[in-house]
């Protein structure tokens, strides 16, 4: 089937905060109206809404939020669909929006996500995030979501024969860099430089991950407007094309035993995206990847094709992940510093790459000429999704 080209014609992004005062619908509407205004459109031009949201049921007692979101911006009546794929929800929503526009079914779709995870407080948030692991066979052992990546960190050290001391330092360098760039992201949650020592001295959440190895709980929303190429050309002279998409699933943690600490779903998903875009990892100028935990970044770069297995952390040791390096990563501050309102995170990643392409981010974190960007979003231990974005001018 021939697919039409699809562009992002506008983005919107609320500040990411801890303990904010706004509801999910309010946050959604602020991000949505910004994206719609930036697209030179009106809400009535939107034909469908695809909205990521994971835990609104728990944080606000609000299910089915997508319909109220559509109503809030004056377009009740359109088909509105909620996507739940843990922390990858918004990327799934954008991928599906892409498919429906590419297929010709719609011309203009609003997609992204919203979350108010911080409202739950740490005990309930930890409980509900653990729902993104197997509830019957693995949660009874005491597993939490950080616990899953903590186990991967120990496994990584043992499997690749890298001393724990060295891996510990590599993990710290990941967090230090994220906090550095996050300092300048005015929409980010944390604005604080940290040191390797700060990471290693902060309290232990789940060994070996300390507080500064882990992203915070966050509230926020991010939305994008997708349009067919024909419509996009009428709306903007700076369309950002989605040229590759991927999504993959996996079973419970123990069932992934043949590949761990590699996440096979990531390799399958990103390969779909690379193949569709007809690019190789070395063609990518900027990556926003899913650094829910410091070790997660090291594991991710290997499966994305930026480092050999067992050598991911060397990119941070050598400074290759900074602006001007071999592969700039998470110049937004990443989930670690920018914050991680889980249902919105994938759309936030897209927003930042689009703004980087347009030279619209703070000068202290503006990357050099970004022509091709990649987003990598992980949901629980069961979803991976990827988008390849291309500057259209």
């Amino acid at each position: 089937m021939a697919l039409r080209k699809v562009a992002i014609v506008g983005v919107g992004h609320t500040p990411f905060t801890f303990g904010g005062e706004k509801t999910s619908v309010e946050l959604f509407s602020e991000a949505a109206m910004e994206a719609i205004n930036n697209s030179n459109l009106k809400p009535k031009d939107i034909q469908a809404l695809y909205c990521g949201n994971c835990l609104g049921d728990f944080s606000e007692g609000q299910g089915m939020v997508q319909s109220y979101c559509a109503d809030d911006i004056g377009i009740a009546g359109i088909p509105a669909t909620r996507f739940e794929g843990a922390c990858a929800s918004a990327t799934m929503a954008i991928r599906d929006a892409f498919i429906w526009v590419a297929s010709g079914f719609y011309d203009i779709v609003l997609a992204g996500g919203v979350e108010t995870a911080s409202k739950m407080g740490t005990p309930l948030a930890t409980r509900t995030f653990a729902m993104f692991t197997d509830s019957h066979y693995e949660y009874p052992s005491g597993l939490t979501f950080p616990g899953a990546f903590a186990m991967l960190a120990h496994l990584y050290s043992a499997k690749y024969g890298i001393s724990f001391e060295r891996l510990r330092r590599q993990m710290s360098l990941v967090s230090v860099q994220s906090h550095h760039y996050g300092m300048y992201n005015h929409l980010g949650q944390l604005h604080k430089e940290i040191t390797v020592e700060d990471v290693e001295k902060s309290f232990m959440v789940t060994s070996p991950l300390t507080l500064y190895d882990c992203c915070p709980f966050s509230d926020g929303a991010a939305m994008v407007v997708l349009a067919s190429e024909e419509k996009a050309k009428k709306l903007t002279d700076k369309p950002v094309y989605i040229i590759g998409v991927g999504q993959s699933s996996s079973g419970k943690y123990s069932a992934q035993y043949k590949y761990l600490p590699r996440l096979r779903a990531r390799e399958l998903s990103v390969q779909q995206a690379y193949d569709m875009a007809d690019i190789k990892p070395e063609d990518v100028d900027l990556v926003e990847l899913h650094d829910c935990f410091s070790i997660a970044s090291i594991i991710a770069v290997e499966s994305l094709g930026f480092a050999d297995f067992g050598h991911g952390g060397e990119l941070w040791e050598k400074g290759e992940t900074k602006i001007g390096g071999k592969i700039p990563i998470n110049i937004s501050g990443g989930l670690k510093s920018k914050g991680h309102p889980i249902g919105a995170t994938g759309a936030s990643q897209v927003c930042d790459i689009v703004k980087q392409m347009k030279y619209e981010v703070e000068p202290q974190r503006q990357a050099e000429e970004v022509k091709i960007g990649l987003t990598d979003t992980l949901g629980g231990d069961g979803v991976l999704a990827h988008l390849v974005l291309q500057r259209g001018w």
């Binding site: 066979y137 009874p140 052992s141 005491g142 939490t144 186990m151 496994l155 789940t206 060994s207």
Partner: protein, 145 residues
């Protein structure tokens, strides 16, 4: 043709509470699936039989959780281990005969373990009220072999 689940969570859970770890052996490829699924995790077959697993294996990774989910703070710190069973599959559980604060890569990874005398049971919370979870949800509870 009706296809029935060979080994449900309820059956697996009730057995583990009596310290018997059940799994599935594939009649087609001869390999094991544990925890159970509808299909063989190696070849996808549904031609499976319920078997008792040895409950022995080696630790492949671990974490000590100091910040558990709501309602489980009393359990912290929790030493969670992933064990490669001798039959092949990996399974998550707890290790009880070491102080969690003394756990290290050197003291745990690669070490032989076996099911201890009593499986710990998570009593459940507001999100585990189904019949299959009545009486709590057991997890493999290991000791050093």
């Amino acid at each position: 043709m009706e296809v029935k689940y060979k080994l449900t969570f309820k059956g697996w859970n009730n057995s583990l509470k009596k310290n018997k770890l059940l799994g599935l052996k594939c009649r087609d490829c001869g390999k094991f699936t544990c925890p159970p699924k509808m299909t063989c995790q190696e070849c996808g077959s549904i031609n499976l039989e319920v078997v008792e697993m040895s409950g022995e294996g080696k630790i492949v990774t671990y974490t000590v959780s100091y910040v558990p989910g709501e309602g489980r703070y009393v359990e912290a710190p929790i030493l969670i281990v992933m064990v490669e069973l001798d039959e092949g599959p990996w399974i998550m559980g707890n290790l009880t005969d070491i102080d969690p604060n003394r756990a290290s890569i050197e003291s745990l990874i690669g070490k032989r373990v076996k099911l201890g005398p009593h499986s710990k049971v998570y009593p459940g919370d507001a999100y585990s009220t189904g019949e299959e979870a009545q009486g709590g949800e057991a997890r493999p509870t290991f000791i050093f072999a």
